[in-house]
Subunit: 324 residues, 2 copies
């Protein structure tokens, strides 16, 4: 991170299917101001960029305006770091390949880098969070889906095409559950918030024992409900976390065989399930790890502040942005 006193701030932007949040961040990782727009309100990407700029420019005013900004980092689904494009993102309104970094650069004059949201989280964690000082780690984001950002030798792994690190789509169960990607048995279909809810629905049908979850209409069960039930001592809810953590832990053993990271860092809503998830993860990891790696890789939780995490993660990329 190079801090230039003439340009002491960066902008971070997190593009989600529902909301786009953006903010001004200083070198210590304080989000000084932020705002948002509804992503889904904009059928045309040009209108979307206009609407963001209309809110972002006044947001920058108290800090000296565009001239004080070192760079902007954008985290977006299917973001291509090399090209600054969003490519065929299924949950965004704009189809095909969108040159979003270029559009912002032209409009604002701020050098802009873009990558996928999990990569942005990894860079954020390395800059401000639990991965400070680590050169080899894997970030796994457990949200609606499962994403990942892989850091090796202190560098984010982008692969030859800019799309490396889709660990949510490693197959954990051959011919298993259908995944949103069209394939079957992906990690994401089991170990995301939606995967947990799916496991709940399956188990409630397969079993006859009582559970607090039976008070909720099956279609409405969320992973948060499973957590709340587990906290109240519900055995079935705890078993759902056991099942989820076991799959995640044994899959981590395979990830470790790839890059032998010092730590795997968990991020996102589901990562806040405490020992209900962490205990089975650690147990399954220990039982499945290749001997030479045993006990070497720490499993950590993200240290990014919750409300700011997405903006902060993306903003960290703004410090590294190439000058052009």
């Amino acid at each position: 991170m190079t801090i230039n006193m003439e340009r002491p701030y960066v902008v971070g932007m997190d593009i989600g299917g529902t909301n786009t949040v953006f903010g001004v961040v200083d070198s210590r990782g304080n989000v000084l101001a932020s705002d948002s727009v509804k992503t889904q309100n904009f059928e045309k990407v040009e209108d979307y960029v206009d609407a963001i700029c209309k809110k972002l420019v006044p947001l920058l005013e108290p800090f000296g305006g565009v001239d004080k900004i070192k760079g902007m980092g954008v985290g977006a689904p299917n973001g291509n770091y090399y090209k600054g494009t969003i490519e065929f993102a299924p949950n965004l309104p704009w189809k095909g390949i969108i040159p979003l970094a270029e559009m912002f650069e032209e409009k604002l004059g701020i050098p802009t880098a873009l990558t996928n949201d999990a990569n942005a989280a990894a860079i954020g964690e390395m800059t401000y969070g639990a991965a400070r000082g680590l050169k080899d780690f894997i970030m796994i984001t457990l949200g609606t889906g499962v994403g990942s950002g892989i850091v090796i030798n202190g560098q984010l792994v982008y692969g030859h095409d800019g799309f490396a690190g889709e660990l949510g789509h490693v197959i954990v169960e051959r011919d298993g559950r259908t995944c949103g990607c069209g394939r079957k048995g992906c990690l994401e279909a089991y170990c995301s918030a939606t995967g947990v809810a799916r496991t709940a629905r399956e188990l409630l049908i397969a079993r006859s024992e009582p559970s607090l979850l039976r008070n909720i209409p099956a279609e409405e069960i969320q992973s948060k409900d499973v957590y709340d039930a587990a906290v109240k001592g519900d055995k079935l809810a705890q078993e759902i976390f056991d099942y989820t953590g076991t799959i995640l832990g044994r899959t981590m053993a395979d990830f470790i065989a790839f890059s032998s990271p010092e730590a795997i860092i968990l991020f996102g809503g589901l990562a806040k399930s405490g020992d209900y998830l962490m205990n089975p993860i650690k147990k399954a990891l220990n039982e499945n790890i290749l001997k030479i790696y045993a006990g070497k890789t720490k499993i950590l939780l993200s240290q990014l502040k919750d409300a700011d995490a997405a903006v902060l993660g993306a903003s960290a990329l703004g410090w590294e942005v190439r000058d052009n």
Copy 2:
């Protein structure tokens, strides 16, 4: 690769459970002279190092002796690049942690780097073979076992402990075949030469149809026999390759989700099975690949000359060796 005219050669050494081969290599990848010792003949590692030096020093004489050697690269099972040690290698006579690089440096005065054999093969391929010019690729060695060397951003991935890249021990079949590592269902238990022989024995029992392989006592079947039978049109032998290639191809789809490499390069005896193995690999890869990666990763065969490959691969590390 830095060529220093005062030190225009490197030494490459490949340590196998049976033989240790070493040779002098020039900057174009010509193995100018080579020799070997029987690894298993030396109970004490000190005697082993002495015996090698006694053969290596005269080997270097015609090229100007030790003073003309830039460095030595050693490929060894369970080699730790960071420490220059061999650690708990099950197939070598010496137990515990052996500081082999240091022992050679002290004895010969040649800076020595050591890594595992598959990593050495990857560096060799990048320096002299099919991976020239590639910055992101995965080398998979299909021999008695399955090894791997992963290159990202032009750098070999060692991980935080020096042991990254054990893709032969990714689980492909939960609770599947017992592997030499003590776990179950590893890629190596299916897609190595020994895995192919195991598949042959299993299929010959499970099926009743005729096969040329029935002429060989089950315990003696080698992967080479399966290949020879496949070439003669033996359907069961061809099915064994289909089974092997299918597992390998769909597992490669998971590897690609990790580092999105430009190529996966196959090396070793089994890789020479031609289309019998390559066709099912490509078919399974196409059927299992995540859409954003489809058609992007080439599957290539090693271009290292057969007899020299191991020495050449290890020698390439000699060009990169740190001066000390």
